[in-house]
């Protein structure tokens, strides 16, 4: 291993990898690193880890709100997107179009295309079924109202269970946390509080935070105010709790 580290190409890789993850190499240098990675795939994990550090820089700029026009323009553009999946609708118009394109002499080609089309419809139907299953899962959800000092202050929150393990904490009329603090969710299991994610409400006071970790077998879900960045154990009393 130490021999490898003194290999000139390895030294060159080590010399360039930081600039590589920051996208600060010339095209030739970038290619050099990628060629080396192709022949040394065991180094990819190291690069990925370094890249995840560099990616954090994207979160550091001052925050600004894009204009509402941008959202409208974007939604208009995707609604006319040429790659929209055809709806699983009446197949006959499509077959008629194929007939017009290929004419009576193109039966074989049309038949092949029809089979492909049917395959596409079947695939589309399968995707729709998947979608319906997902929505069905939501409809089978169980909700648990959260109570506590936070609720007394007007926060309406509930834990929505999606299947056996997943859950989402949903809150309304939730004020922004104090400066340098954040809301943290906890999954309580046998008197142990497991961190389940940080969340903050949007400008309308609404928050929807998927809980991190399984709630299977959990006793309760709680919310506390914690210093920015969260805590490994709760440092304040729960402001909201829900028994599961």
């Amino acid at each position: 291993m130490s021999g490898e580290r003194h290999e000139p190409w390895r030294e060159r890789f080590d010399d360039l990898k930081d600039a590589y993850v920051l996208d600060a190499l010339t095209e030739d240098e970038r290619q050099e690193v990628e060629d080396y990675l192709t022949t040394h795939p065991e180094l990819q994990a190291e690069v990925n880890e370094l890249k995840s550090v560099a990616n954090l820089l994207a979160l550091s700029p001052q925050e600004y709100e894009p204009s509402p026009e941008l959202r409208r323009e974007l939604m208009n553009r995707i609604s006319s997107s040429p790659n929209a999946t055809p709806a699983a609708a009446d197949p006959f118009p499509q077959q008629a179009r194929l007939w017009r394109i290929f004419g009576p002499g193109g039966i074989v080609a049309a038949a092949v295309l029809a089979l492909v089309t049917i395959g596409m419809f079947a695939w589309n139907a399968s995707l729709q079924e998947e979608n319906q299953n997902l929505q069905g899962e939501l409809l089978r959800q169980q909700t648990y109202a959260m109570e506590g000092p936070g609720a007394a202050q007007g926060v309406q929150a509930e834990v929505v269970r999606l299947g056996d393990e997943r859950a989402v904490l949903e809150a309304q009329d939730c004020p922004s946390p104090p400066e340098s603090e954040t809301y943290q969710a906890w999954i309580l299991r046998e008197d142990v509080a497991e961190p389940a994610g940080l969340f903050e409400p949007n400008d309308a006071g609404v928050a929807a935070a998927p809980l991190e970790g399984s709630i299977e077998g959990a006793d309760a879900v709680a919310v506390t105010l914690e210093p920015s960045g969260g805590s490994s154990i709760p440092t304040s009393d729960p402001m909201l709790t829900a028994d599961l």
């Binding site: 996208d23 600060a24 995840s52 954090l56 001052q62 941008l70 974007l74 939604m75 959800q141 929807a208």
Partner: protein, 195 residues
């Protein structure tokens, strides 16, 4: 009956991106609402002007719409994916010579950073962003400058060495130390790196 909008509010990013891959415009709107602010903030930091930043965000989200099915969870979170699209496209644009001159001027103007603004005050409570800002505030200014010139302004390490008139080896060292300190910040607090 749970209404449709509420269902989307409850879905994870990964669920939404799967639906976007199925051309679900409502799911796309949900993803946009969750991530457009951070995407636009990155774009604005890179491009330095509102219109160019909005164009970049629009281009990036159109790519999300068209390429949603290529998203792979094991490579990182949906937010990281969206931001990497913004960043890559922004770098491409900055490296075109015309915009490079403009951005270079802006980098110098923006470099002191941390200007107070109402928008910033309103949103600075975002916890992950706060953590990242905190670690960057702890970096020596010369390391921070090099990271910013590379990441936000699209300069290569050689260009940065010329711009700052310091040896290339020094620039590489500052990049390495800057990234190392960012990593150590998260490790020392037992925090997992935001994906």
């Amino acid at each position: 009956m749970v209404d449709r909008r509420r269902q989307y509010l409850l879905l994870t990013d990964e669920d939404l991106i799967a639906l976007v891959g199925d051309e679900d415009a409502e799911a796309f709107a949900g993803l946009y609402d969750r991530h457009s602010r951070v995407a636009y903030s990155l774009a604005y930091r890179m491009m330095g002007e509102r219109q160019a930043a909005e164009d970049l965000v629009q281009e990036a989200f159109l790519k999300v719409w068209r390429a949603a099915s290529s998203y792979r969870m094991e490579r990182g979170s949906v937010r990281t994916w969206v931001l990497s699209i913004v960043h890559n496209r922004g770098i491409d644009q900055l490296r075109s010579s015309a915009s490079r001159r403009r951005s270079q001027e802006k980098v110098e103007a923006v470099a002191p950073a941390s200007q107070p603004s109402e928008t910033f005050a309103e949103t600075s409570r975002n916890s992950q962003s706060d953590q990242v800002r905190e670690v960057l505030r702890g970096l020596p200014p010369e390391q921070l400058k090099v990271l910013e010139l590379a990441y936000f302004s699209g300069h290569t390490h050689t260009e940065i060495a010329e711009l700052l008139d310091v040896p290339l080896g020094t620039i590489k060292g500052r990049m390495r130390l800057g990234l190392k300190k960012m990593r150590e910040y998260f490790d020392s607090r037992g925090m997992t790196m935001p994906g």
